[in-house]
Symmetry: C2
């Protein structure tokens, strides 16, 4: 998030296209509208909950939050809302070891993909490191620091 601010800060303020993920209510609603989607109460509440969240959330937890303001919303609607937001790349879905999947805004970039060939840098959300971090901790008691190291490989252009 801090890194993100740094990198984004070098642009002028004109950019309205959310890259890589939308992070404001209006930007996300516009994304939903873009493909003929409609803005419903449940969608507004789901997006609102996501924006007011620092971490991840399960579909069931989201359902509880949404139902606090719209009791009639049912969990299958929550799943459909989250599925659509994932399709739009507004959120990422992470399958937990045993329990349910968790969802989170796809904005905060913490890791970096560095191309061995052209040196280009691509930001990667910290959630992408969750599984790696879990394995390192569980098997070795090692705490990784995704913001500190570069993940090397070949970018799309240099394959």
């Amino acid at each position: 998030m801090a890194q993100m601010a740094e990198l984004v800060g070098s642009y002028a303020g004109e950019v309205t296209v959310p890259v890589p993920g939308a992070d404001s209510m209006e930007a996300i609603l516009d994304l939903l509208r873009a493909g003929g989607g409609r803005i419903t109460t449940s969608r507004r509440l789901v997006v609102s909950a996501l924006l007011g969240l620092r971490g991840h959330i399960t579909a069931e937890e989201m359902c509880v939050l949404v139902q606090a303001r719209a009791p009639d919303v049912v969990i299958s609607t929550i799943y459909r809302n989250l599925e659509e937001l994932e399709r739009l790349e507004v959120i990422d879905r992470t399958q937990m070891a045993h329990g349910p999947a968790t969802y989170h805004l796809a904005t905060a970039a913490h890791g970096h993909l560095v191309c061995e060939n052209c040196g280009s840098i691509t930001e990667l959300p910290s959630e992408a490191f969750r599984s790696l971090a879990d394995t390192a901790r569980r098997r070795h008691g090692f705490t990784i620091n995704p913001g500190r190291f570069a993940v090397t490989g070949r970018c799309a252009a240099c394959q």
Copy 2:
């Protein structure tokens, strides 16, 4: 266990305890026997299937393989066998995005955890990078190279 894995490289070849993962039929069966476990037909077949496998496998796929030789083995037994092998750290379990979890031998180490503080190096199985690799490819068309970069952080001793 975690500490042992870190130190393995500095020992001479006398060590017979399989660290970090067992990779031969007898070594794994010994591990099962160690805690009072028993060697049954289904366990033998599950271990055999794992050893003759290059990649990952789901519980259901494993069940099919085992049933080819022992038709009466039921899938709950497969789950229990896999759970036990995971507990013994013979295999790793990876929860797939949507479908079922997959299991694979925890032997091949490809990545490295490097402690920022003491510089110690711990090997990490390439499977630990699966989720990271999938995200990088799916979202950015980027192919990571787990063997080439160091994952930094704090080791158990330097927390």
